[in-house]
Symmetry: C2
Subunit: 240 residues, 2 copies
Amino acid sequence: MCRLPASSTGITLHKMALMSAQKKSAVKANLPAHEVVYRKIRDKVLFGKLKPGQAVTIQGLVDEIQVSMTPVREAIRRLTAEGALVNQGNRRVSVPQMGAGRFAELVFARQSIEPELARLAARVIKDKEIDELAGIDQRVNAAMDAGDVSGYMQENHSFHFTLYAHADSEILLPLAETLWLRYGPLYRIICGKYGTGSMVDQHEETLQALRDRDADAAAQAILNDIEQGFEIVRTDYGWS
Amino acid sequence: MCRLPASSTGITLHKMALMSAQKKSAVKANLPAHEVVYRKIRDKVLFGKLKPGQAVTIQGLVDEIQVSMTPVREAIRRLTAEGALVNQGNRRVSVPQMGAGRFAELVFARQSIEPELARLAARVIKDKEIDELAGIDQRVNAAMDAGDVSGYMQENHSFHFTLYAHADSEILLPLAETLWLRYGPLYRIICGKYGTGSMVDQHEETLQALRDRDADAAAQAILNDIEQGFEIVRTDYGWS
DNA sequence: CGACAAAAAATTTGATCATATTATCGCCCG
DNA sequence: CGGGCGATAATATGATCAAATTTTTTGTCG
């Protein structure tokens, strides 16, 4: 899946040293520029660094990151296709805004897709991988205790998608990712308003269901986890 | 929403004549190049003009359509994000192939999303719009009677998405589109193998439910329609 | 002497950039 | 308050660089 290091070609140790000197991170240094830009903006949307309605310009990103226009354009097209950004007709793009109708759609879609991913994952997940999930949940709780909103959102995302990744799903998983991209900016506002203290999750119940090898219980726990997040949004915005 | 014709700038009749001579359709001639390329490849995937596994090269499209690399790259990135194409690691893209597992995911996703779109649409659709749908269904049947596989697939797509468009959905509708993009190449093979004679649909039942203002019945009719298509695939490939 | 395999050159394809072109927005003036 | 003018940002192209595949060459072994 990932781009393999070019070990088959005649890359010498000398050249490797040169590369790692030029680029910052030697591990994922040879990622394409458009991929780097994509991930950068994607994470900003996903973790609420960008507000709903905020404009995203090509040249702004060209200045921010040091790349040319072409990779930025590609990244923006991709993000628009994934629903992380929207085209505003007059060739401008911005972070999408949400109303009651869109939120209802988002609720329906997440409740349909994510429990199924949890169910598929529960059937094949190994004990060792459950332990890894438990470790992520500890970091979620730590971030909540520390009042670290940004860290909470990242670790919470990590918990869900580390679980879903085990479902070996090439269709449902990308769907879930687009839904989280839509949810990110809104959820960040809610978290900022109420703080991490009021956040509750069903991660413990999920972990227990996984340890019991009970796929249906895992699906139900994820459904409950999602629903608890939605409930805060619903009451705050009055979207009942 | 659409790009307005550049009437504000100093475009002379002479230049207009030149443009319409160069471009085929004067109506949507001023679409961005990347959009044109995108629609071209998208329709090819959707209606099965490209086989599963078939490679799609940038330079091949540059030669086929007469545009530069940049718009083609953007179109391919967008289509990859939508699942119409897949990245094969070594920076090449191709039409995705399907196995039993992916097919099961596709079945689940379409059965979850599309009945809901039909339900939402049924609540707001007007009589006149139902008549329009009935007209499309007649064209579906005409294509089936004529044994026109390509026409059948286009009109069938038109029937579903003309209905879904009334749902006023910005989240579920794009999801359904990506699922059809995944389904297109596979379904084209099946249609080619068995011909349009063996195809059956639930469009009449759907139309009746819409006329009855029965949203649940409309959702059920679409669910049955989808299921009938899947059944042929299942038996042919032995994916039970 | 022929054939297979490994290595190297060549061609093809993809990625990035700098630049020209074109459309849109904001502002000023009538 | 509306229409033209300049600034700004987006689109599209061709050129350039890098990587991967294919083809050719070469050497060795049967």
